[in-house]
Symmetry: C2
Subunit: 477 residues, 2 copies
């Protein structure tokens, strides 16, 4: 904790790494590209898991678990899928001291092995829709890694559903996208744009990919979750069929959708500031820290007595509260530490506060301190935590809006991206080559065609033709 974190405004990347490592969210693993998620970081994942799992179950999906090893031949059955994932695979060639007859792939995603099972389980339309979710570890061999954001092994949930019709599958893909947006916004306090991916950016094997995109504190975009409409691509490759009500054999229509430990990186990069983390109260492992302050033993006895009673009251009200009564550190040291660790609210209790039956409350989201009565402290803290949650979202939303700019030519778009970063919104019906050109010039990619498009028209910056389609470009993680 004694070390310093780099200045966010000067070196965002270094700041990010410093924050992750020094707040003990995660650490570099001895295996290249892998990470160790430490207890403080894993607690964030547990909070994400708990809430997201409940929301997924509310849609009717059930959890299951499929093997992590996939026969190599399975991946080859869907042509686009294997092409997309081949460069990223980890391969098990030996097991139990022997060379395997067929190498096994460590799952980069589970559409293939899940379809193999679906094809055995599904018989008739009565078995549909089939809605399955899995919490699992995933391996994609990444060249350039970054803790939480892109690691060789990561944790995620992956939903896989089967439907009788294309329409129903499309509806499910959109429903889960909306679940993801709501989760990002009201649980992580991160505003999320929902949109469709271009052909260049879509999932290998999908008919269409939808995503939620966030804007990080350095103006770069982050894909925070995806929902794919898979059509019948995998069901044809694996023979996942059902007898419809008329007795006809048909291929099922499918979706898949996932969110990962990357969300923790998003929380850090959206809310963090020069002092370190700022955690939304919903997911903060410690929502409120109490720092008692004293000089004499007599003061200590009084201060600790009040601090203990505040602690007990907050705890019994269900607030995740921590008492920091360590002897060996000064209050100032403690303030810095808990600010760096992103604790939303700090309550300082000194001798003068004992006399006033009050505490000093310091919010992590805004500057300053406020004197607060001990009377009704649990209700007060709850209200303040709600307000912090709201403020963090509003600050992030204001930042995104200030950093979403319109461009009407390719040159203007390039200039805005290079100079300002952020999202640049353009009329767009360009092809893959046009996207590649933008990427070459600016490193920006087409993040998505936002779903909330009005019925408007403009001139495509790539083709010069009239179009109703708007796209967001940004440099992305």
């Amino acid at each position: 904790m004694a070390e310093k974190i780099a200045k966010q405004s000067q070196d965002f990347n270094k700041w990010y790494q410093d924050v992750v490592v020094q707040t003990e969210l995660a650490d570099y693993a001895p295996v290249k590209g892998c990470m160790v998620i430490r207890p403080y970081g894993y607690a964030l994942w547990e909070s994400i898991q708990g809430e997201l799992d409940a929301r997924i179950k509310e849609t009717g999906a059930q959890n299951a678990y499929f093997p992590m090893f996939i026969p190599q031949s399975f991946l080859q059955r869907e042509a686009e899928h294997v092409e997309g994932f081949a460069p990223e695979l980890a391969v098990v060639t030996h097991g139990g001291g022997k060379k395997l007859e067929e190498p096994l792939i460590v799952r980069p995603t589970s559409e293939t092995i899940i379809n193999e099972m679906f094809s055995k389980w599904i018989r008739s339309y009565r078995d549909l829709p089939l809605l399955i979710n899995q919490w699992a570890n995933i391996v994609r061999w990444e060249k350039r890694t970054r803790l939480f954001i892109r690691t060789t092994e990561f944790l995620w949930q992956e939903g896989h559903t089967c439907h009788a019709t294309r329409e129903e599958a499309n509806e499910k893909a959109m429903q889960m996208l909306e679940i993801y947006r709501q989760f990002a916004e009201d649980w992580l306090a991160i505003p999320a744009v929902t949109g469709r991916k271009s052909e260049t950016e879509k999932f290998a094997g999908a008919d269409a990919t939808f995503a939620i995109e966030g804007l990080m504190g350095d103006g770069k975009a982050l894909q925070m979750g995806t929902s794919h409409s898979l059509g019948q691509n995998f069901s044809k490759a694996f023979g996942t069929q059902f007898l419809d009500a008329d007795g006809q054999l048909q291929n099922v229509w499918q979706t898949s959708w996932g969110m990962t430990t990357r969300l923790i990186g998003a929380v850090i990069m959206v809310h963090g500031d020069e002092k370190g983390l700022r955690l939304p109260p919903t997911i903060a492992p410690i929502q409120t820290v109490i720092v008692p302050i004293w000089k004499t033993d007599r003061e200590k006895a009084q201060v600790i007595q009040l601090a203990d009673s505040v602690f007990a009251e907050l705890k019994s009200a269900g607030i995740r509260v921590k008492m920091d009564d360590r002897d060996q550190f000064t209050p100032g040291f403690k303030y810095n530490e808990w600010e760096m660790k992103g604790v939303p609210l700090r309550l300082e209790i000194g001798p003068r506060d004992v006399a006033d039956n009050a505490v000093m409350a310091a919010r992590r989201d805004i500057k300053g301190k406020e004197k607060v009565s001990v009377q009704g402290i649990a209700e007060t803290v709850k209200t303040v935590l709600d307000s912090i949650q709201k403020t963090l979202f509003e600050q992030a939303l204001a930042f995104r809006e200030a950093n979403t700019r319109d461009a009407s030519t390719m040159e203007e778009m390039a200039q805005l991206i290079l100079k300002e970063r952020g999202f640049v919104r353009v009329w767009w019906e360009g092809d893959a080559d046009a996207e590649a050109k933008v990427k070459e010039d600016t490193k920006a990619t087409l993040r998505c065609f936002p779903l909330d498009q009005q019925d408007e028209e403009g001139i495509c910056v790539a083709t010069g033709k009239k179009t109703k389609s708007r796209a967001l470009f940004a440099v992305a993680y």
Copy 2:
């Protein structure tokens, strides 16, 4: 569901496989030795996870996540460890399209990689004790597999702790063993013997291994959880050291402990009967099923109205209740299905019950039905569920006691094992060769030296010498 399960009394193995597959707990995976955990089975795992996680956290441990890939060289640092696990390893040799410089092992357990991290994190005695738990998937290349009981990939939790003294580590190992015993007994309704493993049977790399052992319905034993006192074996191999209060550098003393998806197999084999599963109410995904019965439409309307109100009352009381109002199946078919699936309590509601404002209650643990008033139904059901939980435990305990026998000679032990199965208790201070001899003759292994030994003495069946040490032998899964 239309298929039949084998008779338990005639072919226990086939019965087990039939029950697992036909109740849709799990399915065979396309990869040899792996399993797919289906929603009904995964719900059991979620219940186990939820409760065990809470109990582990109460001991002060925090969850974290370590990479699943371990450099091959790590395993070689602890001589016994690598010798024990070498035959069971899965090896990744290629990643991202290239041959790896050093092969990676898919974790068979995580002592090595966790110690590598511990050695970076621990500086002084102030960092101790360090109490970490991980929920993860594990791979051990098994030759003979069995759904849930022994699969190439399985799910588990593994705790890893560091302490300043040997005594403290030993205490922790015993504490976790006791947590496991309590969990098995009051959550899974499975009586568990706690004991120490022999040198032959201990964990590769441990100073001592403790385990809880259960007795399955066919008289075979199952190791249900282990807790290891690791001494300084791994801390020496990985340099996991701390500065003590006197400024001296010392190696930490460690424990590790784990429970796995095997517990689901134990639940099936301890409680199951000819009709299929019998699930303890604590973990049953469906605790109570309501089967409305009618012939005419008029009856249906009345019956469904009562069934709905009972359903609503049970649900709002927090009971996991299911309404089975499917039109296409007869009540008898439904009874069989839910009995096979192990639902602890069935409520049948027919026209006569409507007149009486009552329901027929059929418990899964004992024969017969009982008429129960709708008045106060939620409280009645809760009481009955508690009673079922207790009965299942008592039945299992009675079975174990009836199948734990004393032998005073090697011959007697061999005869009892071959003829009766079950636990055979003997005075024992034999060596590894003597254990091997028993195994050769009877397939039985030394399950454990039970911890609850009295201060008694007897004649060791192997050496003929006086000893205070008693052991349980059994044929085990």
